[in-house]
Symmetry: C2
Protein backbone atom coordinates (compact mmCIF):
# COMPACT_ATOMS: atom_id res chain seq x y z
CA UNK A 1 0.00 0.00 0.00
CA UNK A 2 2.76 2.36 1.05
CA UNK A 3 4.76 1.55 -2.05
CA UNK A 4 1.82 2.08 -4.38
CA UNK A 5 1.18 5.49 -2.84
CA UNK A 6 4.82 6.33 -3.44
CA UNK A 7 4.39 5.06 -6.96
CA UNK A 8 1.51 7.46 -7.57
CA UNK A 9 3.54 10.37 -6.18
CA UNK A 10 6.48 9.46 -8.34
CA UNK A 11 4.27 9.08 -11.40
CA UNK A 12 2.80 12.52 -10.75
CA UNK A 13 6.27 13.97 -10.44
CA UNK A 14 7.39 12.24 -13.62
CA UNK A 15 4.38 13.62 -15.48
CA UNK A 16 5.14 17.10 -14.13
CA UNK A 17 8.78 16.66 -15.09
CA UNK A 18 7.83 15.42 -18.55
CA UNK A 19 5.40 18.28 -19.07
CA UNK A 20 7.93 20.90 -18.15
CA UNK A 21 10.36 19.64 -20.78
CA UNK A 22 7.80 18.80 -23.47
CA UNK A 23 5.99 22.14 -23.11
CA UNK A 24 8.34 23.92 -25.54
CA UNK A 25 7.19 23.52 -29.13
CA UNK A 26 9.96 25.05 -31.29
CA UNK A 27 7.86 25.57 -34.43
CA UNK A 28 5.01 27.22 -32.52
CA UNK A 29 7.39 29.33 -30.46
CA UNK A 30 9.30 30.54 -33.53
CA UNK A 31 5.99 31.64 -34.98
CA UNK A 32 4.91 33.31 -31.74
CA UNK A 33 8.20 35.18 -31.25
CA UNK A 34 8.32 36.43 -34.84
CA UNK A 35 4.71 37.57 -34.60
CA UNK A 36 5.47 39.38 -31.34
CA UNK A 37 8.47 41.12 -32.88
CA UNK A 38 6.40 42.07 -35.93
CA UNK A 39 3.72 43.58 -33.65
CA UNK A 40 6.45 45.56 -31.91
CA UNK A 41 7.86 46.75 -35.23
CA UNK A 42 4.36 47.83 -36.30
CA UNK A 43 3.85 49.83 -33.07
CA UNK A 44 7.28 51.44 -33.48
CA UNK A 45 6.64 52.23 -37.16
CA UNK A 46 3.34 53.85 -36.21
CA UNK A 47 5.35 55.90 -33.69
CA UNK A 48 2.48 57.03 -31.50
CA UNK A 49 2.07 54.89 -28.42
CA UNK A 50 5.26 55.18 -26.33
CA UNK A 51 3.90 52.94 -23.55
CA UNK A 52 3.09 50.22 -26.03
CA UNK A 53 6.48 50.47 -27.77
CA UNK A 54 8.30 50.32 -24.43
CA UNK A 55 6.21 47.35 -23.21
CA UNK A 56 8.08 44.94 -25.51
CA UNK A 57 11.31 45.40 -23.55
CA UNK A 58 11.99 43.73 -20.18
CA UNK A 59 12.18 46.09 -17.19
CA UNK A 60 15.97 45.67 -17.16
CA UNK A 61 16.46 45.80 -20.94
CA UNK A 62 19.71 47.13 -22.40
CA UNK A 63 19.69 48.94 -25.74
CA UNK A 64 23.03 49.66 -27.43
CA UNK A 65 22.46 52.16 -30.28
CA UNK A 66 25.50 52.76 -32.50
CA UNK A 67 27.32 55.99 -31.66
CA UNK A 68 25.04 56.72 -28.72
CA UNK A 69 25.21 55.97 -25.00
CA UNK A 70 23.84 52.62 -23.81
CA UNK A 71 20.22 52.92 -22.60
CA UNK A 72 19.32 50.68 -19.67
CA UNK A 73 16.01 50.08 -17.90
CA UNK A 74 12.38 50.96 -18.60
CA UNK A 75 12.48 54.59 -17.46
CA UNK A 76 15.54 55.44 -19.56
CA UNK A 77 14.03 53.56 -22.52
CA UNK A 78 10.84 55.57 -22.31
CA UNK A 79 12.86 58.79 -22.46
CA UNK A 80 14.90 57.39 -25.35
CA UNK A 81 11.82 56.42 -27.38
CA UNK A 82 10.09 59.69 -26.55
CA UNK A 83 13.10 61.72 -27.72
CA UNK A 84 13.42 59.64 -30.90
CA UNK A 85 9.77 60.09 -31.85
CA UNK A 86 10.13 63.85 -31.37
CA UNK A 87 12.97 64.12 -33.87
CA UNK A 88 11.84 65.87 -37.08
CA UNK A 89 10.75 63.31 -39.65
CA UNK A 90 11.69 60.34 -37.45
CA UNK A 91 10.50 56.90 -38.41
CA UNK A 92 11.77 53.39 -37.82
CA UNK A 93 11.04 50.05 -39.38
CA UNK A 94 12.62 46.66 -38.88
CA UNK A 95 12.24 43.01 -39.81
CA UNK A 96 13.65 40.09 -37.83
CA UNK A 97 14.36 36.48 -38.68
CA UNK A 98 16.34 33.41 -37.60
CA UNK A 99 14.81 32.80 -34.17
CA UNK A 100 17.09 30.59 -32.03
CA UNK A 101 16.08 29.25 -28.62
CA UNK A 102 17.69 27.91 -25.49
CA UNK A 103 16.81 24.21 -25.06
CA UNK A 104 14.14 25.11 -22.46
CA UNK A 105 12.55 27.60 -24.86
CA UNK A 106 12.82 30.48 -22.40
CA UNK A 107 15.53 32.60 -23.99
CA UNK A 108 15.82 33.40 -27.67
CA UNK A 109 17.64 35.50 -30.21
CA UNK A 110 16.53 37.17 -33.42
CA UNK A 111 18.65 38.70 -36.13
CA UNK A 112 17.32 41.45 -38.31
CA UNK A 113 17.74 44.60 -40.28
CA UNK A 114 16.36 48.03 -39.57
CA UNK A 115 16.12 51.48 -41.08
CA UNK A 116 15.71 54.81 -39.35
CA UNK A 117 14.85 57.94 -41.22
CA UNK A 118 14.83 61.53 -40.00
CA UNK A 119 14.98 65.00 -41.47
CA UNK A 120 18.43 66.57 -41.47
CA UNK A 121 19.14 70.24 -40.62
CA UNK A 122 19.13 70.99 -44.36
CA UNK A 123 15.62 69.53 -44.70
CA UNK A 124 16.84 66.44 -46.52
CA UNK A 125 15.87 62.95 -45.39
CA UNK A 126 18.60 61.00 -43.65
CA UNK A 127 18.32 57.22 -43.78
CA UNK A 128 20.35 55.00 -41.46
CA UNK A 129 20.32 51.27 -42.05
CA UNK A 130 21.40 48.70 -39.51
CA UNK A 131 21.83 44.98 -38.78
CA UNK A 132 20.38 44.00 -35.41
CA UNK A 133 20.61 41.27 -32.81
CA UNK A 134 17.93 41.05 -30.12
CA UNK A 135 17.89 38.73 -27.11
CA UNK A 136 14.48 37.79 -25.73
CA UNK A 137 13.27 36.33 -22.45
CA UNK A 138 10.02 34.47 -21.91
CA UNK A 139 8.81 36.25 -18.79
CA UNK A 140 6.72 34.76 -15.95
CA UNK A 141 3.49 36.19 -17.47
CA UNK A 142 4.13 34.02 -20.55
CA UNK A 143 5.09 36.94 -22.78
CA UNK A 144 8.32 37.31 -24.79
CA UNK A 145 10.15 40.56 -24.09
CA UNK A 146 13.39 41.92 -25.49
CA UNK A 147 16.22 42.10 -22.92
CA UNK A 148 19.14 43.13 -25.15
CA UNK A 149 18.90 45.16 -28.33
CA UNK A 150 21.97 46.10 -30.39
CA UNK A 151 22.57 47.02 -34.02
CA UNK A 152 25.32 48.47 -36.17
CA UNK A 153 25.86 49.97 -39.60
CA UNK A 154 26.13 47.82 -42.73
CA UNK A 155 29.10 48.08 -45.11
CA UNK A 156 29.22 51.38 -47.03
CA UNK A 157 27.21 51.22 -50.24
CA UNK A 158 29.25 49.51 -52.98
CA UNK A 159 30.96 52.15 -55.12
CA UNK A 160 30.06 52.12 -58.80
CA UNK A 161 32.23 49.74 -60.84
CA UNK A 162 35.32 51.44 -62.27
CA UNK B 1 7.35 -7.48 -7.79
CA UNK B 2 6.29 -5.93 -11.08
CA UNK B 3 5.27 -2.74 -9.31
CA UNK B 4 8.53 -2.50 -7.39
CA UNK B 5 10.50 -2.84 -10.63
CA UNK B 6 8.41 -0.04 -12.09
CA UNK B 7 9.12 1.91 -8.93
CA UNK B 8 12.87 1.55 -9.44
CA UNK B 9 12.57 2.64 -13.08
CA UNK B 10 10.49 5.63 -12.10
CA UNK B 11 12.91 6.54 -9.32
CA UNK B 12 15.81 6.38 -11.78
CA UNK B 13 13.92 8.61 -14.18
CA UNK B 14 13.06 11.04 -11.42
CA UNK B 15 16.70 11.21 -10.36
CA UNK B 16 17.71 11.79 -13.98
CA UNK B 17 15.00 14.41 -14.30
CA UNK B 18 16.02 16.07 -11.05
CA UNK B 19 19.68 16.06 -12.01
CA UNK B 20 19.02 17.68 -15.35
CA UNK B 21 17.29 20.62 -13.70
CA UNK B 22 19.53 20.93 -10.62
CA UNK B 23 22.76 20.65 -12.62
CA UNK B 24 22.90 24.40 -13.41
CA UNK B 25 24.75 26.34 -10.72
CA UNK B 26 24.43 30.04 -11.72
CA UNK B 27 27.37 31.30 -9.65
CA UNK B 28 29.72 28.59 -10.91
CA UNK B 29 28.53 28.97 -14.49
CA UNK B 30 28.98 32.76 -14.43
CA UNK B 31 32.54 32.20 -13.29
CA UNK B 32 33.14 29.50 -15.91
CA UNK B 33 31.72 31.55 -18.80
CA UNK B 34 33.66 34.69 -17.86
CA UNK B 35 36.85 32.63 -17.55
CA UNK B 36 36.20 31.06 -20.95
CA UNK B 37 35.64 34.48 -22.54
CA UNK B 38 38.81 35.80 -20.88
CA UNK B 39 40.80 32.86 -22.28
CA UNK B 40 39.41 33.66 -25.71
CA UNK B 41 40.29 37.34 -25.35
CA UNK B 42 43.83 36.34 -24.32
CA UNK B 43 44.22 34.09 -27.39
CA UNK B 44 42.88 36.86 -29.65
CA UNK B 45 45.14 39.48 -28.03
CA UNK B 46 48.13 37.21 -28.59
CA UNK B 47 46.98 37.00 -32.23
CA UNK B 48 48.94 33.91 -33.23
CA UNK B 49 46.83 30.77 -33.10
CA UNK B 50 43.97 31.17 -35.60
CA UNK B 51 42.60 27.66 -34.91
CA UNK B 52 42.46 28.38 -31.20
CA UNK B 53 40.81 31.78 -31.69
CA UNK B 54 38.20 30.29 -34.03
CA UNK B 55 37.49 27.36 -31.67
CA UNK B 56 35.55 29.62 -29.28
CA UNK B 57 32.80 30.16 -31.84
CA UNK B 58 30.10 27.57 -32.63
CA UNK B 59 30.28 26.01 -36.10
CA UNK B 60 27.31 28.14 -37.19
CA UNK B 61 28.39 31.34 -35.42
CA UNK B 62 27.40 34.73 -36.82
CA UNK B 63 29.70 37.73 -36.40
CA UNK B 64 28.34 41.19 -37.24
CA UNK B 65 31.26 43.66 -37.41
CA UNK B 66 30.24 47.32 -37.78
CA UNK B 67 30.56 48.60 -41.33
CA UNK B 68 31.57 45.16 -42.65
CA UNK B 69 29.65 42.24 -44.14
CA UNK B 70 28.22 39.66 -41.73
CA UNK B 71 30.54 36.68 -41.31
CA UNK B 72 28.80 33.33 -40.86
CA UNK B 73 30.18 29.86 -40.15
CA UNK B 74 33.55 28.44 -39.12
CA UNK B 75 35.25 28.56 -42.53
CA UNK B 76 34.31 32.20 -43.16
CA UNK B 77 35.33 33.08 -39.61
CA UNK B 78 38.75 31.52 -40.08
CA UNK B 79 39.28 33.66 -43.20
CA UNK B 80 38.01 36.73 -41.30
CA UNK B 81 40.39 36.19 -38.37
CA UNK B 82 43.28 35.36 -40.66
CA UNK B 83 42.75 38.55 -42.68
CA UNK B 84 42.43 40.64 -39.51
CA UNK B 85 45.66 39.30 -38.01
CA UNK B 86 47.48 40.11 -41.26
CA UNK B 87 46.50 43.78 -41.15
CA UNK B 88 49.51 45.97 -40.35
CA UNK B 89 49.70 46.64 -36.62
CA UNK B 90 46.46 44.77 -35.88
CA UNK B 91 45.61 43.92 -32.32
CA UNK B 92 42.39 43.34 -30.42
CA UNK B 93 41.47 43.25 -26.79
CA UNK B 94 38.15 42.93 -25.03
CA UNK B 95 36.59 42.49 -21.63
CA UNK B 96 33.12 41.08 -20.97
CA UNK B 97 30.77 41.22 -18.02
CA UNK B 98 27.13 40.81 -16.98
CA UNK B 99 26.61 37.12 -17.82
CA UNK B 100 22.90 36.29 -18.09
CA UNK B 101 21.59 32.75 -18.57
CA UNK B 102 18.49 30.97 -19.81
CA UNK B 103 16.77 29.17 -16.91
CA UNK B 104 18.28 25.84 -18.02
CA UNK B 105 21.78 27.35 -18.05
CA UNK B 106 22.40 26.38 -21.66
CA UNK B 107 22.28 29.75 -23.40
CA UNK B 108 23.90 32.93 -22.13
CA UNK B 109 24.75 36.48 -23.02
CA UNK B 110 27.72 38.68 -22.17
CA UNK B 111 28.09 42.41 -22.64
CA UNK B 112 31.47 43.98 -23.08
CA UNK B 113 33.76 46.54 -24.56
CA UNK B 114 36.54 46.05 -27.06
CA UNK B 115 39.31 47.93 -28.78
CA UNK B 116 40.96 47.21 -32.10
CA UNK B 117 44.13 48.93 -33.17
CA UNK B 118 45.83 48.90 -36.55
CA UNK B 119 48.32 50.98 -38.47
CA UNK B 120 46.78 53.44 -40.91
CA UNK B 121 48.15 54.16 -44.41
CA UNK B 122 49.98 57.20 -42.95
CA UNK B 123 51.74 54.99 -40.41
CA UNK B 124 49.67 56.31 -37.52
CA UNK B 125 47.88 53.98 -35.12
CA UNK B 126 44.13 53.79 -35.56
CA UNK B 127 42.13 52.76 -32.52
CA UNK B 128 38.51 51.64 -32.79
CA UNK B 129 36.52 51.12 -29.62
CA UNK B 130 33.30 49.17 -29.42
CA UNK B 131 30.53 47.92 -27.15
CA UNK B 132 29.74 44.24 -27.68
CA UNK B 133 27.02 41.70 -27.09
CA UNK B 134 27.83 38.00 -27.39
CA UNK B 135 25.38 35.10 -27.24
CA UNK B 136 26.77 31.77 -26.03
CA UNK B 137 25.60 28.18 -26.24
CA UNK B 138 26.62 25.35 -23.94
CA UNK B 139 27.42 22.70 -26.53
CA UNK B 140 27.01 18.92 -26.18
CA UNK B 141 30.72 18.52 -25.28
CA UNK B 142 30.08 20.70 -22.20
CA UNK B 143 31.93 23.71 -23.58
CA UNK B 144 30.58 27.25 -23.95
CA UNK B 145 30.93 28.66 -27.46
CA UNK B 146 29.93 32.00 -28.91
CA UNK B 147 27.07 31.77 -31.44
CA UNK B 148 26.40 35.47 -32.10
CA UNK B 149 28.93 38.27 -31.84
CA UNK B 150 28.05 41.91 -32.55
CA UNK B 151 29.47 45.25 -31.52
CA UNK B 152 29.15 48.90 -32.46
CA UNK B 153 30.90 52.22 -31.94
CA UNK B 154 30.55 54.21 -28.72
CA UNK B 155 29.43 57.87 -28.73
CA UNK B 156 32.02 60.22 -30.27
CA UNK B 157 34.52 61.44 -27.70
CA UNK B 158 33.06 64.36 -25.75
CA UNK B 159 34.22 67.63 -27.35
CA UNK B 160 36.21 69.96 -25.11
CA UNK B 161 33.99 72.34 -23.13
CA UNK B 162 33.37 75.63 -24.93
Amino acid sequence: MKSSRLLVSLAAFVIFCGCSTVRFDPAAERERLLRRDAEWAAAAAEGKDVSKIVSYWTDDAVVVPPGQPIVEGKAALRTFVDASLKMPGFSIRWKSEKPAFSPDGKMATLQGSNEMTMTGPDGKTISLKGRSVTVWRLEPDGQWRCAIDIWNDPPPATPAAK
